[in-house]
Amino acid sequence: MATRFSRRFFRRSTGGLLPRLALGLALLGAGAPAMALPSFATQTGMPCDRCHTIGFGPALTPYGRQFKLNGYAWGDSPTAVPVAVMVQGGFTRTAADQPEPPAEHYSSNENASLDQTSLFLAGRISSHLGAFAQVTYSGTERKVTWDNLDVRYATPLSLGNYGLVVGVSLNNNPTVQDLWNSTPAWGFPYISSALAPGPAAAPLITGLGQSVLGATAYVMVNDRLYLEAGGYRGLSNRWLRNVGLDADNNANLDGVAPYWRAAWQFDGAVHHASVGTFGLSADLRPDPTVAATDSYRDLGLDATYQYAPPGAHQLAANVALTHERRHLDSSFATGASDTVGNQLSFVNADLTYAYARTWSAAIGGFDMRGSSNGALYAPAPLSGSANGSPDSRGYTLQVEYIPFGKADSFARPWINVRVGLQYVGYQKFNGGTTNYDGYGRNAGQNDTLFAYFWLIL
């Protein structure tokens, strides 16, 4: 499952090889991340808001990060049921009709949709081993695929004055194993319409979910320093077919793509913060008849802050900068890219205020800038660029109501609901403000209002 930004920035791109890859990858995830699973709640006996801010994920509290770090294995309730179901959908309205319906069976605007239904197998397997596995039916794509997978083993160690937690993660989405909500897989705003337009470009690290499989090893030192390293490999077309996908979803990774992560966190009584870096280095062979490869070097910097005093008021903020250097030798050789050297930078920041872990208001901003490339970002209705620029900039406003997920909630922990209203505004889209696609469409016409519900059972 891709997350909001990977879905938004990869969806319905038509010009150039990279956007075609992006389109395939985007189809992997038309829905939302998984969160606040009752299976974890029954395992630990705790309500959702112990692990998730505002009583509904995926944003993690310090304890939630510890739970994940330690392999989803804490809690030994004999009544734990390691199965959960998630349903997500809503109503999408863009400022102007799209040139064509965004998916089969839908209109060019004002669509009600059941975006995603997911089944989870999530919980403790043994005292140090746990899993988070998701299978999803996409209501817009009308197919069942595998979704996020994170199987991890972790154990605490004490070495002199150092308290360590060491572990390994087997997963299919770079950063899905991450503990903070500033990295791509679990980043704000956690949910978006599967039927709304999205910019053409995105760093590669945001869009590899479900098309790769990797293993990473990690260590947390004294609850302060987190270090992780590992690698990802692409999957064969046969493998992809077996999990509900197809060749269009193949990332065509050449060899192992190294992944790394480092973070320094501070947890006080009410203040929690982190700063970190993450990255991925991948070589892609998009055309097997061409000897050359396309190389992507993604380097991210991120920071988080949470304020969680005993009272009703909470704040959370995240910011991340991802810079991608590309050497598109293969694409250049086939004419899919104007130049060999390209770059892309993506900044994403958000601030959320929550009251009583029940009401929340959030604001986010994003800014994508990169090298112009007329072949990579070619003119096309809605999804193209008239000037070959990937630059996009905008903001997200969101209000939400989360009635359950607390210790005294109805039917705890078997039901949790999140309803919200989200507005995404574009100041620039695929390099332009007016007539950005070369077919007369303006950036503001892609502004999207999304009224949504999110149900966890």
Binding site: Y63, R65, F67, P156, S158, G163, V165, N222, D223, A269
Partner: protein, 164 residues
């Protein structure tokens, strides 16, 4: 013996006592823990004249110890993470405290919502110039449930908790 002679005898007796005995004082400290994995104070203060501490942990939450059990563990500041990790391995049966671990200066057992527990310990093991920390050793709780125990240079303030 006149009243004057009696007072003089008492004064002489007090002067003959070892200095430590003369200051022998048990200082009460109280701290609260809740269902949100929080202590109600990040700092406890001991007066210089406290020779013994009686620490009372009151769990003001509602959830049982099996779900939201809390304890209070006192160690040197640098020992929080390794002792917490050792507590993870010790398990619930040992209150998430490694058995016989010399790094633990004092500790209470786990309590659930509405329950109270008390531990009494000597301050003889506390050295001036050293920093001490308390935390809850239930898995994952120490990241937020931790604080500092400080020893005041001044006598008179027996013990106190410092508001956030």
């Amino acid at each position: 013996m006149t009243r004057r002679h009696a007072l003089a005898a008492i004064a002489l007796l007090a002067a003959a006592l070892p200095a430590g005995m003369a200051r022998a004082t048990t200082c009460p400290l109280t701290i609260e823990a809740n269902d949100l994995m929080q202590f109600n104070t990040p700092r406890l203060m001991l007066g210089a004249d406290c020779s013994e501490v009686e620490l009372t942990l009151h769990h003001v939450g509602k959830q049982p110890a099996a779900v939201m059990g809390h304890n209070w563990v006192l160690v040197r500041s640098g020992d929080v993470a390794p002792v917490a990790n050792a507590g993870l391995r010790a398990g619930r049966a040992q209150n998430f405290q490694p058995s016989g671990d010399a790094r633990i200066i004092a500790a209470t057992p786990l309590v659930g919502g509405g329950e109270t527990t008390t531990v009494r310990f000597s301050t003889a093991a506390l050295k001036s110039g050293e920093s001490y920390a308390f935390f809850c050793s239930t898995p994952g709780h120490s990241v937020t449930m931790r604080g500092a125990l400080a020893i005041s240079a001044a006598a008179g303030q027996l013990a106190a908790q410092v508001p956030r």
